[in-house]
């Protein structure tokens, strides 16, 4: 995908640009809010990474300007302002996602992927199928290889979250925020425990493992090649 990184700190910008380039993406870097508006309007980007505090035009103002110029690409705001209020202000100010510095590159990449492939909300399909796994989201039923699998509500919620993002990396933070509303980091690794429970029901005893762990990053629900 084609990414515009708006970041005035050279080292941070370089770090993000290098990482994205290494994972096969095209990256441009803008150093200020004004520059980001010019480049964003000119260059058909798939997604923007926007620092919030920029010289001149700040990040949220730049987003507002881009939107008014008809630029619809999703924007991930990257910032050191991490309180709940700041996040809410950011999201209400037009950001599509929010990541607080310091961040792990894997987290950024996963969120960018999720933004670009986010399906329109109205178009959520009722049945999701992957290999021999079928999820009926209306009746909350899971069938694998023709056999009904009984899941607890928590396990089902986790599976549907992963299944809505087949092939995408889902990080622990994304799961903590979306599934349990934890806007803080618990010291106990509760996500791993949930995933391993889910895996014991969905994957154990079947030939193909659909839920994979990406070490230090998160999880992905996918059919192995």
């Amino acid at each position: 995908m084609k990414v515009l990184v708006v970041e005035d700190d050279e080292r941070t910008a370089g770090f993000i640009a290098r990482g994205l380039a290494e994972t096969g993406h095209t990256v441009d870097v803008a150093r200020s809010g004004n520059e980001s508006v010019q480049m964003g309007m000119a260059g058909a980007y798939d997604v923007l990474v926007m620092d919030r505090m920029l010289p001149g035009l700040n990040g949220l103002d730049a987003i507002a300007l881009l939107r008014s110029e008809g630029v619809a690409a999703p924007v991930l705001v990257l910032t050191a302002l991490g309180s709940v209020e700041d996040r809410v202000a950011g999201l209400e100010g037009g950001a599509d996602d929010y990541l607080v510095k310091p961040f792990a590159f894997s987290e950024l990449l996963a969120r960018l992927n999720a933004l670009v492939r986010r399906p329109p909300l109205s178009g959520l399909s009722e049945t999701i199928a992957l290999a021999d796994l079928v999820i009926d989201t209306r009746r909350r039923r899971v069938i694998r290889a023709g056999k009904r699998i009984e899941l607890t509500p928590q396990e089902y919620k986790l599976l549907e979250f992963l299944a809505r993002r087949i092939g995408e990396t889902v990080t622990r933070t994304m799961l903590l925020e979306s599934l349990w509303g934890f806007h803080f980091d618990p010291r106990t690794n509760i996500v791993d425990a949930h995933v391993s429970r889910l895996r014991s029901k969905v994957d154990r005893g079947f030939d193909v493992e659909l839920i994979r762990t990406l070490r230090g990053v998160g999880y992905v629900l996918d059919e192995p090649e």
Partner: protein, 463 residues
């Protein structure tokens, strides 16, 4: 700007509340007196007029009866006799017979044109020296007897005029006295208030100049003012505590971040001189160390925000539901670690609070137990009512904490000796205590022998 020299000139006095209040009182009293007078005046006038009419009607009907019985001429003759008797007379007459006989006593000929009742104004009788105006109102009632005799009887209103005059004087002097009294009282009360307030102002100025332990004196004027002083003192108390906490934090940060930073530096130095094979491992270690540092900074920042009260987003929270969500989130992890984690809810418990923070409290306490206890233990999250409070407690049957250290547990970076080797910033309980205090509640930590119980009490929702 000088803080201590704020004396007021005459123009300043004009602006003080007491003078304004006194003026307002005077105005209100003055207006009140005027209004009262107006109402009295109207009521007295009506009453007098009605009485006069009744008397006139009686008198006229007597005269008509006489005239009908004996004829107009006889009436004129008898009236003339009566009038010339010389007694003081409140009635005045005009009688005209068709035959040309005429009696006129106190009423001008013009009243012959009146039909029924009318008020006329006549020059004041020289005898009535009490009345200040030169004309007096006379109410006249006229009628005709059967033989065509015209009869008019008038009644003057000297008595009413005198009453009115007296009322006006009373109102004027009474009003002036009341207004003066209101002014005096207002100014006196204001002076007392000003003097008391001055002592408060002086105390506040001492606080501003840096003496945070100074407290405002009680005003001694009334409950509301003492409440105000108490509230302001509570505010000062908080301010002093906050300043102290700030001093504490700065020194804590300086001391407690030194160790991990030194460790980080050592690791990086090692990496510089390490063999290629070891280097990766050392760098990974340095990254992990940095993450821990960042985590501590994040926790400090959040702690500061909570203690500053900046992030209050309170709503009506179902505490049991929040606890259930957190327990659900932790169940698999606790299970895997061999713990038995249960939630015990005895009643519906609602509080006014921040659901995310309350969830963080429970998560943090459960984290603590799981980190410091040993597998095979039980961990209970309890939500109950305790009087007007909601009580949220987390109990384990782990090793507990030495009694003499219990009160230090909520201090920043405070860690028990035996847990220094475990992960964690030493900020968890500080955060819990800060959240408790933000919710207007208290945190208590007790040894259960065996085990530790951490209980948070916050007021129930008012509804």
């Amino acid at each position: 700007m000088s803080l201590t020299n704020r004396s007021r000139g005459p123009a300043g006095l004009w602006q003080t509340t007491s003078v304004r209040l006194a003026l307002l009182f005077a105005l209100v009293f003055g207006l009140g007196t005027g209004l009262l007078l107006l109402v009295l005046d109207i009521a007295v006038g009506r009453f007098a007029e009605e009485t006069a009419r009744d008397a006139l009607r009686d008198q006229v009907s007597v005269l008509i009866a006489d005239a009908n019985a004996e004829g107009g001429a006889a009436l004129v003759a008898s009236l003339r006799e009566h009038v010339s008797g010389g007694q003081p007379e409140r009635f005045s007459y005009l009688v005209v017979t068709p035959g040309g006989d005429r009696l006129s006593a106190g009423l001008p000929d013009a009243v012959e044109r009146i039909k029924g009742v009318a008020s006329i104004h006549l020059p004041v009788d020289a005898k009535e020296d009490d009345v200040e105006s030169d004309r007096i109102e006379v109410i006249v009632l006229t009628a005709r007897a059967r033989d065509g005799t015209f009869i008019a009887v008038g009644r003057d209103t000297y008595a009413l005029a005198e009453l009115r005059q007296w009322l006006h004087r009373l109102a004027l002097w009474g009003g002036v006295a009341l207004v003066l009294l209101a002014l005096l009282c207002g100014i006196a009360a204001g002076a007392v208030l000003l003097r008391r307030l001055k002592s408060v102002t002086e105390a506040a100025e001492r606080v501003m100049s840096g003496d945070l332990s100074e407290r405002l004196p009680s005003l001694g004027i009334g409950l509301e003012f003492d409440d105000l002083a108490d509230t302001l003192n509570a505010m000062l108390e908080r301010l002093e505590a906050a300043m102290e906490a700030l001093r504490q934090v700065s020194s804590d940060v300086a001391h407690d971040l030194r160790t991990p930073l030194t460790r980080l530096r050592n690791t990086l130095e090692d990496a510089q001189s390490a063999e290629e094979t070891e280097r990766d491992e050392l760098i990974t270690e340095a990254v992990l160390e940095t993450d821990r540092l960042l985590e501590i900074f994040g926790a400090l920042l959040r702690l500061a925000q909570i203690e500053g009260g900046a992030s209050r987003r309170f709503t009506d929270v179902d505490l049991a539901a929040v606890a259930a969500d957190v327990v659900d989130a932790y169940l698999p992890a606790a299970d895997q670690a061999g713990w038995s984690l249960t939630l015990i809810v005895s009643q519906d418990v609602r509080v006014n609070g921040d659901p995310t923070m309350l969830a963080q409290v429970i998560a943090s306490l459960v984290d603590n137990a799981l980190t410091h206890g040993a597998p095979g233990q039980t961990l209970r999250v309890l939500v109950a009512r305790a009087g007007a409070d909601a009580e949220l407690s987390v109990e384990d049957d782990g090793p507990g904490a030495p009694a003499e250290e219990l009160k230090h547990l909520t201090r920043r970076f405070y860690r028990l000796d035996r847990s220094r080797h475990t992960d964690g910033s030493g900020l968890g309980l500080s955060m819990v205590a800060a959240i408790a205090s933000l919710h207007g509640g208290t945190l208590s930590i007790t040894n259960r022998l065996p085990g530790l119980a951490v209980a948070l009490r916050i007021p129930l929702s008012p509804s």
